[in-house]
């Protein structure tokens, strides 16, 4: 499985995270998204005419959307992550995979605006980002009331992986995450999963790391 990847992209990171959690082996092809703009090059557009990352290729299959890539990696390496326990869980996974597109279009855009100086209607992006975070918060509250700790049910699924990165990285786009207690506990639970991997701005729980013994700083 080849992943066209950019280290700072939340949509690429979610694929790397799922691969790490399921033990899937990825071959990473770094795309010079910034400053090179390689995703707009003729060679890349020949693979994905939409000019977005991530893209996955596996044998004759080409996938140009993170929801599809997550579904494929899970189906190959960790079917439990598909969340097929009940019709309700399965539908919720579909819901949050679709919802994640709104995160890319709001928080994702605010972030590339602030970090990479890409043009965007920053006020509108931030407003839409806040609305997304409020919807995730409300959904997590409802799941908790029904006895579940994750977005689609009582265990982590693709729903959580799809929405986790932007929920963590919102401050990069000038969107505060201070006001969401349920999101805070949920992201902590994900950061504590066995096999969890980091990206710049998203770290494993420090409290689970051993106390550094006399490090030099």
């Amino acid at each position: 499985m080849i992943l066209y990847d950019y280290v700072l992209s939340p949509d690429c990171y979610k694929i790397r995270l799922l691969a790490a959690l399921t033990g899937a082996k990825l071959t990473l092809r770094a795309v010079d998204f910034h400053p090179g703009g390689e995703h707009r090059s003729p060679a890349f557009l020949a693979i994905n005419p939409a000019g977005t990352i991530p893209v996955m290729q596996d044998a004759s299959l080409t996938l140009t959307d993170s929801a599809a890539i997550l579904t494929y990696v899970a189906a190959r390496s960790g079917p439990a992550w598909l969340g097929d326990d009940t019709p309700e869980m399965r539908a919720r996974v579909a819901l949050w995979l679709a919802f994640a597109q709104r995160l890319s279009a709001s928080i994702g855009k605010a972030r590339t605006h602030d970090m990479l100086q890409k043009p965007a209607d920053i006020v509108a992006c931030r407003k839409a980002g806040v609305q997304c975070l409020r919807e995730i918060e409300a959904a997590l509250v409802e799941r908790h009331l029904m006895g579940d700790a994750f977005l689609a049910g009582n265990r982590p699924t693709l729903a959580d992986i799809a929405c986790f990165p932007h929920s963590m990285l919102a401050p990069d786009g000038g969107i505060s995450v201070d006001a969401y207690p349920a999101i805070r506990l949920w992201t902590r639970a994900i950061r504590a999963l066995p096999g969890f991997v980091e990206m710049p701005g998203i770290h494993r729980l420090h409290d689970l790391k051993p106390e550094p013994a006399g490090v030099q700083a």
Partner: protein
């Protein structure tokens, strides 16, 4: 500095090892809970280089700053500087500590000696905390003051609402609901809270 207890979080939302930023009377605080369950509310500013301590992490009974790892005991006293592991940190390196207490499933903070205890919240369970980008208008929400909380019903469920004012006309509502309500009814009440927020923010717009 206001001489009363301000609600800052639901106890449930501050699990052991969690640290969160809260605002009381305009002051930014780091609220955290140790591994053994003790809560503390500190000035949200590391004495070293001023990093927000609410970005830090809890190990055991101490809070560590994310920046250079200085760690602080419950008293606020710096107990360890990783770059100088053999140094006993001077007494003067100390985070200002504020009064914090838990009562009725709610965490309360006071910057000055409070004149009275927090309100009694018998028969209620914590529902959720929501931040409004608008002031809270209890009358518009159909709630009336009783026993130190705003009380009434949301989606048919009896609730008590506690208000934590924020700067710039914002506020946090800490909502508790009838402990006898079913989970499904509590979900409806949670949606009622969303409606209440939408109305408050639209009224302002």
């Amino acid at each position: 500095m206001l001489p009363y207890w301000t609600p800052v979080a639901l106890s449930r939302d501050l699990a052991p090892l969690v640290v969160m930023p809260v605002v009381v009377d305009g002051a930014e605080l780091a609220l955290w809970r140790s591994a053994s369950g003790r809560i503390a509310a500190w000035a949200d500013r590391c004495p070293h280089r001023g990093m927000r301590l609410s970005h830090g992490f809890v190990r055991g009974e101490a809070l560590s700053c994310i920046y250079h790892g200085w760690s602080y005991a419950q008293s606020g006293q710096c107990q360890r500087i990783p770059a100088h592991p053999d140094l006993e940190p001077p007494e003067a390196i100390r985070v200002p500590v504020h009064r914090a207490m838990e009562s009725g499933g709610v965490i309360w903070v006071a910057l000055a000696e409070p004149a009275a205890l927090p309100p009694a919240l018998a028969g209620l369970v914590p529902l959720r905390s929501v931040t409004l980008d608008a002031p809270f208008d209890p009358a518009a929400a159909g709630l009336a003051e009783s026993g130190g909380a705003w009380r009434g019903t949301l989606a048919g469920v009896a609730v008590a609402v506690l208000v934590q004012p924020l700067p710039e006309n914002r506020c946090v509502l800490h909502v508790l609901a009838d402990g006898a309500a079913t989970p499904a009814a509590l979900v409806d009440a949670s949606r009622g809270v969303e409606t209440l927020r939408r109305q408050a923010e639209e009224a302002l717009a």
